[in-house]
Symmetry: C2
Subunit: 307 residues, 2 copies
Amino acid sequence: MTIPATLLVHGGAGPIPDATANPRFGGLARDGLAAAIEAGRRVLAGGGDALTAVAAAVECLEDCPAFNAGRGAVRNAEGDVELDAALMEGSRARVGAVSGLRGIAHPIAAARALLDDGRHVMLAGAGAEAFARRAGIETIDPQLLIDAAPGERASAADAESAARWPGDTVGAVALDASGALAAATSTGGTIHKLPGRVSDSALVGSGTWACDATCAISATGQGEYFIRTAFAHGVHALIQHGRRDLEGACRHMLSEVEALGGHGGCIALDRLGHVALPFNTAGMPRGLLRVGEPARIAVHPEETLRV
Amino acid sequence: MTIPATLLVHGGAGPIPDATANPRFGGLARDGLAAAIEAGRRVLAGGGDALTAVAAAVECLEDCPAFNAGRGAVRNAEGDVELDAALMEGSRARVGAVSGLRGIAHPIAAARALLDDGRHVMLAGAGAEAFARRAGIETIDPQLLIDAAPGERASAADAESAARWPGDTVGAVALDASGALAAATSTGGTIHKLPGRVSDSALVGSGTWACDATCAISATGQGEYFIRTAFAHGVHALIQHGRRDLEGACRHMLSEVEALGGHGGCIALDRLGHVALPFNTAGMPRGLLRVGEPARIAVHPEETLRV
């Protein structure tokens, strides 16, 4: 039996606002997930690789204003928007990761450029930004990202968005037709974070991991707890050495996060096409595509995603 | 039988220069290791905790000009010195990590301040530096660190140091009298690195890990490979789930690094006082202390360290 190319996306684990509190969130989030899945589908259906598919999906999620990544990311303690992203290729353990980018709307593209460059696997701060500019990654006026951030605004016209949940991290994992896995994650980090704060999303082993032999994972939640538990590599290790299945490994690592006082979730996928999308928050906007089948999307907590 | 408080230190895995090529290296390195062990011994013998002991030891190693950390760290591609450090407490999984600090001679002290602050576990770039300054970490004129870096110099008087091996990362792991473990690592990163490059030393799970149930680890080598293998968390996972002993787990992860083309080593310690100090380079300056016994130090490859 051939395993179909598969893509999972998420828009962050958290307290999803109900339709009364924020009537626009559901529609925006659903549109964002659908666009991301379509971008990934185009890559996978055309025989493209998992790494390219997850980067394409995450670029779309970065464009969606409902999510805390790219446009729509939260402001830090000084009112700036600083963005993190990472991606990993399961077949060759190639990695690209960036943290603290300003004026770059698609940090995942910068992470991909770093992976392709090959000299380093992670850059942060001004050096990361300089690399992204030299690599030809599209720039944007930092003020536009600041203006697009949720939360308190100068203008009364923006009152509606002030109510919106700041969302969380976005991510994607994919299995391509050749059986290769990849994972990508992008975030604006925690609201009012200290400048320079590095998220789990930017850290391979914490928020992002991919290994063809085990799984691809993108996590979301209170990043500090996911770093302290080495969440994503922990899922990998439980499958590799601990005889856990994908769902059991994810749930075990989430229980480690919970034991420290943290909350969140993840999406995970193995080379047999098994998927897991656990979270210990009220909800997690998420979507699944098996190439050749219709996409399935769930945003509100009461929705179930038939996988 | 009571297990004595134990401390391991390292000064980086690499091609240790022989006495002919650089007569000063051996003496400097030995003095640096001895001072670090003495600083850790004072903490542990006085009933202090493992976290305080590893931070004290690494501060001394940062002061030693023979090693690529603090004073003596290498310059990046733009001629600046940017420093990384991280530490982790095995009992509560508390973490502090910093990357890209300029003008701070003791990055491990900044990492410790971040751990104590508790809001975030990792900061990078200008934000990390601003935090360190606010936390009252001692600053130094960045030019003094640049002048202290090995390699090509303006002055002919510095010709001798130009020959010296740029060294590598420093680190310490400790077991205290209460049975708690901790690990700390500090580095100047790779010579001529791109500005903003984040090392494995700064990444919990890659170059640094501590968990009382398994082990404390500080790694050294070509950091990119240690990030791509999640080296330190990999050692932990092999002990926790893979039924490996400490030495076997370290050697297995070093073989994963090697399979990708990388080299390096690590020091590791478990709560029973077992130690491992493997490396796949020509040498690794290293030292061991069991509190109440004399310290043992090895610098040159032909020396053995009776553990």
